[in-house]
């Protein structure tokens, strides 16, 4: 099953199960979704529940939030999360904070979804990863699926959840196929929010990743296995709440930690994970923690520069902490921040 079909079937099933669920966004209806995630849903549910909006992120996101105040369950699609910047006031101020400000009177059951992070050749304004932006805000839940199982289980969980959920997809994963079990295909399938998944068990080093980087981490683990290094790969699934227990338990077993993300290094997801491990499992670490992150620059357009700006499989597998190579690789954040090559 492709990730695209996983998302599409999850939306379909949740709309079918609950008439309060509706979709709103640019090109979600007649165009069938800019990335075809909403394909067929207009025909099935009609224009009252699959709403093509004008190009007005602030407007339709706020409308979604207002509808959620009144008990509907909107799923707001951003054509890309880069456009959510036009509506971030409503995600942060109107959605995330209302339950608290109203002392629990106004819950906001809404899902903000769409592709996030780097795609390919689309330049700086269309390649930003917003995981940490939203994950730093109390009142939001932030999910990032990797596989088809993740996409189905987490999107269904997000729609059923009574709180605002930011659901970060990845354009380059939409067409990828993953094997799925019968359980995953069942319409009752749902994944818990706030729980990470150990994609591959290992004993020598813990690698954390989310979204597309989980695939890279798994490939890196295969390469490392050939050198006799057993890597444990954790698919975070939920950026907020962050499954600190699973991460720390793994690090206490492997005694080493490498974090991987496409976003920027400063104040990144890796930074938060490192802080958690240093706070809770410092005594178990046999080596300094390592962060592999996107280069600390706006995304360049040129294909060769773009490739250099996001982590690649070999950056993970050849990381000096894991492989024992002494030289520092460019993915070490010091490289970018110091501006000097080692």
């Amino acid at each position: 099953m492709t990730v695209r079909d996983a998302l599409n079937t999850a939306l379909d099933e949740e709309m079918s199960a609950d008439p309060k669920v509706f979709l709103m966004g640019e090109e979600v209806g007649e165009y069938q979704g800019a990335y075809k995630i909403t394909k067929g849903l207009l025909d099935k549910y009609g224009p009252e529940r699959v709403l093509d909006t004008p190009i007005t992120e602030a407007g339709f996101t706020g409308i979604g939030v207002g509808a959620a105040y009144h008990g509907l369950k909107p799923v707001i699609e951003f054509m890309t999360f880069n456009f959510s910047m036009q509506a971030i006031d409503h995600i942060i101020n109107s959605a995330a904070k209302s339950n608290y400000m109203s002392a629990g009177q106004m819950s906001v059951p809404i899902v903000f979804r769409g592709p996030n992070g780097a795609a390919s050749g689309v330049g700086a304004q269309h390649s930003h990863c917003y995981a940490v932006w939203y994950a730093s805000c109390p009142g939001l839940k932030v999910l990032a699926p990797y596989s088809s199982e993740d996409a189905r289980g987490l999107l269904k969980a997000a729609i059923r959840d009574p709180d605002p959920v930011v659901f970060l997809e990845n354009e380059l994963l939409y067409g990828e196929t993953f094997p799925v079990s019968a359980e995953v295909l069942d319409s009752s399938f749902c994944l818990p929010i706030g729980k990470a998944k150990i994609e591959k068990e290992g004993k020598d080093v813990t690698i954390t990743a989310f979204s597309k980087m989980v695939g890279y981490a798994l490939k890196a683990a295969e390469i490392l296995a050939k050198d006799g290094i057993s890597a444990e790969v954790i698919n975070l699934r939920s950026i907020r709440p962050l499954d600190r227990n699973t991460i720390n338990a793994s690090v206490r077993k492997t005694n080493r930690l490498v974090t991987v993300e496409e976003g920027f290094p400063q104040h990144g997801v890796g930074a938060e994970i490192c802080a958690s491990v240093v706070e809770e499992s410092f005594g178990y670490l046999d080596a300094p923690v390592e962060r592999i992150a996107g280069a600390d620059v706006p995304m360049p357009y040129a294909a060769n520069l773009e490739r250099l700006a996001v982590p690649q499989v070999e950056d993970i597998s050849r990381n000096h902490l894991i492989s024992g190579i002494s030289e520092m690789y460019m993915w070490d954040p010091c490289y970018y921040w110091g501006g000097t090559a080692h």
């Binding site: 009252e48 706020g62 409308i63």
Partner: protein, 442 residues
């Protein structure tokens, strides 16, 4: 109030083609969100607009006066027609008049008390008072049903009171006490009451407009999709003149008209966005004109005259309730105090302040009721006394109420108290083996 200059030819009281059976039954056959829906250009609202445009040259001269005092456009035609047709010759019944008077007195007395309490250190932060604008809140909100929604701004205390939130609950919220309508977690700018369908309290310019539009959307969705046939709930979005230069205003006028949502956009044009004069901020200061630009009626009303506001509000709310779509109403009003209690209010001309102070909406209503023998001086005095007691009681109640407990700090981050919020130990509840027991009380 009878002295307000007459300009507008808005004829609410005349049967609108829009309201006619032909037009409505036609609409029934149209798709709920039919983007091709044509604007009912035969509406006398829009007809009146054209008339106004013709005289725009002379009007603009008036508007060039920064005080805009002579440009107060009223719906006096409505008033005159009503007078001509009505057997009683009155715009309001005694009972209605007393309710309206009491609500306006409550708004005024409450806010005056807020100022006192602020200067005594009982409340803190930004406190924006509503003095002078009472005719708008009372004129609109008192016509609503409980199920109807109100979305307000940071100047929200009086909207909350008009919507029925008890003075005690609002005052306690301002004192930051646990008995406040949001347990002290919202504050002056964030009043919510689910019970009264007051859905904020938004501190950012323009932020409340899409939320209100979404509330109106949900009314329509419930009727059309969830088949709750009796769901005719209307939403009022209140905001100021400064907001009308913000993009969210335009985005939502468009979508509300496009989807024919049951909403009234109520502009409280008090002529000043903090220290920025409306005349200095807006290319065409006649905000109501933006309604017809989006295919909805735009109306200008004297916001210092609660009876005129009521007439306009009745028509606009009725339109929304009948499923005929949104209306933009510009209420020209004035705030008698600074932007907030922290504003030294040095930019507004004392002559301008005096001009509007002389048009105090409460004094005007009082005069009307007494002159028309709707109420005696003594009856109105009794209301004032009663409200003084209500406000005194609210202060006492707030003062004696407990501060929120330490444990409250981490509650209500998420809807489900047993969910993924943070527990008293600072850890996510889902990490705590006992989290299913829940600790938050709502």
């Amino acid at each position: 109030m009878a002295s307000a200059s007459s300009f507008s030819a808005t004829k609410f009281t005349q049967p609108l083609p829009l309201n006619g059976t032909t037009s409505r039954s036609h609409d029934k056959h149209q798709s709920f969100f039919d983007p091709l829906r044509t604007t009912p250009s035969s509406s006398s609202f829009l007809g009146s607009t054209r008339k106004l445009r013709l005289s725009s040259a002379s009007k603009l001269k008036l508007l060039a006066n920064p005080n805009r005092r002579s440009a107060v456009v009223a719906v006096s035609d409505v008033v005159k027609e009503k007078k001509a047709k009505s057997t009683t010759n009155l715009l309001i019944t005694k009972e209605e008049g007393l309710v309206v008077y009491e609500d306006m007195i409550l708004g005024r007395a409450f806010e005056d008390m807020c100022a006192q309490m602020y200067y005594r250190g009982k409340m803190f932060g930004f406190v924006h008072l509503y003095n002078g604008q009472e005719a708008v809140s009372t004129g609109f909100i008192k016509l609503l049903k409980r199920e109807d929604s109100v979305v307000s701004t940071y100047r929200d205390h009086v909207h909350a009171l008009s919507k029925g939130v008890p003075a005690r609950a609002v005052m306690s919220e301002l004192f930051g006490k646990t008995t406040g309508c949001c347990r002290g977690q919202g504050g002056s700018m964030h009043m919510f009451s689910k019970e009264h369908n007051l859905i904020g309290g938004f501190a950012f310019i323009g932020e409340g407009i899409p939320v209100a539009t979404g509330a109106a959307f949900s009314s329509k969705y419930r009727r059309e999709v969830l088949k709750e046939a009796d769901c005719d709930h209307v939403t009022l979005a209140f905001f100021g003149d400064g907001t009308c230069n913000n993009g969210q205003f335009f985005e939502c006028l468009n979508m509300a008209a496009l989807w024919k949502l049951p909403i009234v956009f109520v502009v409280e044009n008090n002529l000043w966005a903090i220290g920025m004069s409306h005349m200095r901020a807006t290319s065409d200061p006649e905000i109501w004109k933006k309604g017809p630009a989006f295919g909805m009626p735009g109306v200008h009303v004297d916001g210092m005259d609660v009876l005129k506001v009521r007439e306009v509000a009745k028509e606009a709310i009725g339109r929304a309730r009948r499923g005929e779509g949104p209306t933009l109403v510009e209420c020209e009003t004035y705030r008698f105090r600074g932007h907030s209690l922290a504003d030294p209010d040095e930019l507004r001309d004392p002559a301008e302040k005096a001009h509007y102070a002389a048009r105090d909406p409460i004094t005007a209503l009082k005069k009307y009721m007494i002159e028309n023998s709707l109420a005696s001086e003594a009856e109105l005095k009794a209301i004032e006394k009663k409200i003084d007691e209500v406000v005194e009681d609210a202060v006492e109640f707030a003062d004696e109420s407990p501060h929120p407990s330490r444990s409250q700090l981490l509650e209500n981050v998420f809807a489900d108290p047993k969910g993924f919020g943070i527990g008293p130990d600072g850890r996510y509840r889902c990490e705590d083996p006992k989290f299913t027991e829940g600790t938050a009380h709502v």
